[in-house]
């Protein structure tokens, strides 16, 4: 069994990467590729991940949620909230309640049409409405990270998806309470409110304590490896404690991330970058599992109508709710017009709530042999599949329209994208080998080049003269009249090719303690260009500024 699980993890990660690669070729966010592979190998497809493996892999999904929650929390910097807190809260309430009402009304109407019972249809309406208000932070943020998005819309999206889980949990608790009362089930209202309070407050307190504890530990950690180990250990602990006390794993982790980033921003930022890289295969597996878990059995036709109403209502509700919330909170037009498009993804929270509803409402019959609980589970599963295909693509559309794609780049990212030929001087001024040193000095004075290729009559590169190699001639002016470029040139060390990656080139130059070098064609020996570190750094900085633009 142990080998089986490991094999499944391997198949999942590799399959997910393959799916992501194929979808990226089609310019579709990678997360859809992961889910598609999950569908293929899961319950709906080949069944490699089936009824036995899914429960066995559940702890893994919780850990992934903790990682995602922590990283999302790490994006919630207090200074942003000080500036846009009112707007983000307004939008979150607008989009959450918007989806709640549109989905609730639509699904309730269809259920009334099917069952003829106003109590059952209202109960269903409340539960579907509450579930629809949650937005999946994982796939939304994955798209933002994949496309290195940065700007007001990106910040708004992260903040809203992080916060609306709490709203969804509250609406769900209220919805199931009222639904229970409506359909005559045994619902203890004070107990439910107490449970909800414990879940929300407990998650926040546990998360904040973990964040503060981590901040203290990191202060005393002397190496990056140790810090990462402490962080991963804390996330494992927090997940375990949250599950033991029936708290929300993702909210706990989010609170921990937000506390840490605001308490020790300098120590935690590099650590979050490391954690993101460390978590990459865990994410892949998590989304593959999301796809594998989805089960689309034969369902009555009207259930597909319910799915269509849910997806349409939720999409309209989220978009219109965002617009209304943004307008009332006087948000900038960018948030008002585009933020709603980034809130369609639905994931773990919705599926989790539907599972709970499956138990709560299993005694409410919709028709012969079909209870309301099963209807909720089946419909939410199907809608999750649909919106997980639409959601990430819409996020990409929104960040593309607002030109926030590619802005979250660092100098290292830019360097990783470039080759030597992208930053070298491809049209250098050459020196002839018979040129007098007097004239060589003139060329150094009149051209912005730190070194010059020395060429023969055929134009082939014979050597190179740099400022460094001229140093010895500064005080020997009596020989300037008869020494030639060919006398003082030094041989070209062919250390770089035009297609050498820039990062490798900079490392090589640094190891050789060289500031500049000439690139020559291997066959013709004609000079191809000059690569110098100063110009390369200047080009990288220029590109960085261009890419980051103004938020």
């Amino acid at each position: 069994m142990e080998v089986g699980i490991l094999l499944i993890l391997g198949i999942g990660v590799f399959g997910g990467i393959l799916g992501a690669w194929l979808f990226q070729k089609l310019r579709i966010p990678q997360v859809i590729g992961y889910i598609a592979i999950g569908l293929m190998i899961g319950r709906t497809g080949l069944g490699i991940i089936g009824e036995v493996q899914i429960p066995a892999l559940r702890p893994f999904s919780y850990l992934a949620l903790a990682f995602i929650g922590f990283l999302v929390g790490g994006e919630l910097e207090g200074k942003v909230f000080k500036q846009y807190g009112r707007q983000f809260t307004g939008i979150m309430l607008g989009e959450g309640l918007g989806a709640f009402f549109t989905v609730g009304i639509g699904c309730g109407a269809l259920l009334w049409f099917i069952t003829g019972s106003w109590a059952t249809s209202l109960a269903g309406a409340l539960v579907f409405g509450a579930i629809s208000s949650a937005t999946d932070p994982a796939s939304t943020v994955d798209v933002l990270w994949e496309y290195r998005s940065k700007g007001l819309l990106t910040t708004g999206l992260i903040s809203v998806v992080a916060l609306d889980d709490a709203l969804a949990l509250t609406l769900y608790a209220l919805g199931t309470t009222v639904a229970g009362l409506l359909v005559g089930g045994e619902v203890n209202v004070p107990e439910l409110v107490k449970t909800l309070g414990i879940e929300l407050v407990g998650s926040a307190v546990l998360g904040m304590c973990t964040g503060l504890g981590l901040s203290w530990l990191l202060k005393h950690s002397r190496s990056a490896d140790r810090s990462l180990t402490l962080l991963v250990g804390s996330l494992l602990l927090i997940s375990g404690v949250a599950l033991t006390f029936h708290l929300d794993v993702i909210l706990c982790a989010m609170a921990a991330g937000a506390t840490l980033i605001n308490h020790s921003p300098h120590r935690s930022k590099p650590l979050l970058v490391t954690l993101r890289a460390f978590a990459a295969p865990i994410y892949v597996m998590f989304f593959v599992m999301v796809g594998a878990r989805l089960q689309l059995d034969a369902q009555p036709i009207w259930l597909w109508g319910l799915v269509a109403i849910y997806v349409t209502g939720r999409t309209l509700g989220k978009y219109a709710g965002t617009w209304i919330g943004a307008t009332l909170s006087k948000s900038p037009p960018l948030l008002k017009n585009y933020l709603g498009m980034g809130l369609f993804a639905q994931g773990g929270v919705a599926v989790g709530l539907s599972m709970m509803a499956g138990q709560h409402l299993s005694n409410v019959d919709v028709m012969n042999g079909l209870d309301l609980g099963t209807v909720v589970v089946s419909a939410v599963t199907a809608t999750t599949l649909l919106v997980q295909l639409i959601g990430p693509a819409s996020v990409k559309w929104a960040i593309t329209k607002t030109s926030e794609i590619g802005r979250n780049v660092t100098e290292e990212d830019i360097i990783a994208e470039l080759n030597v030929e992208d930053v070298m001087n491809a049209h250098p001024v050459n020196l002839r080998e018979g040129e007098l040193i007097r004239d060589v000095f003139d060329k150094f004075a009149t051209h912005d080049q730190l070194c010059f290729p020395v060429v023969n009559e055929e134009g082939a590169c014979m050597g190179v003269i740099s400022i460094d190699s001229l140093k010895s001639l500064f005080v020997e002016q009596e020989i300037w009249a008869w020494m030639l470029a060919g006398d003082v040139m030094v041989p070209v060390k062919e250390i770089l090719e035009a297609d050498t990656p820039l990062a490798e080139a900079m490392e090589t130059m640094s190891q050789m303690e060289a500031e500049e070098t000439i690139l020559c064609d291997r066959d013709s020996q004609l000079p191809l260009g000059i690569f110098d570190l100063r110009s390369a750094r200047r080009a990288v900085s220029k590109k960085l500024v261009q890419r980051q633009g103004t938020a």
Partner: protein, 156 residues
Amino acid sequence: MVESGTQLLDAALSPQRVFLTKESSKEDLLKFLITKMGHCGEVDDVKALNAAIFSRESLMSTGIGLGIGVPHARISSVRRMIMAVAVNDHPLEDYESIDNQPVQIVFMVAGRPDQQSNYVRLLAVLSHVVKQESNRKDLLSATTSEEIYERIRKAL
């Protein structure tokens, strides 16, 4: 490391590579010195040295004026920087100096491609020495190669 003029000269020149010659042309004198340098054990490929010296002359004559010639080249077949000196019995009219004066004293220098700094320094030191008329007269009045060697060292 850049060495002082005396250090460079001591390392590059030995009394065995100082000659009183009776050559009739620039080409003969250069070939004579190349051959002598080739015998000192520090040149692996005399043909390459010959080609490099004449290739440099084809770019521009190394007659630097005041009757002095400084043929020179850097090639990888030279093990270390070496020098040879010839004082000809008569000035050579065909040297094509920059001041159009015939050349009678020739310093031939051969170095490795990676010895750029010391090479430039040695050429500069030689240029500095022969600029002084008294030093040139001392060299021209010497009657033995040992005398020339000693006078060069003294002039530094």
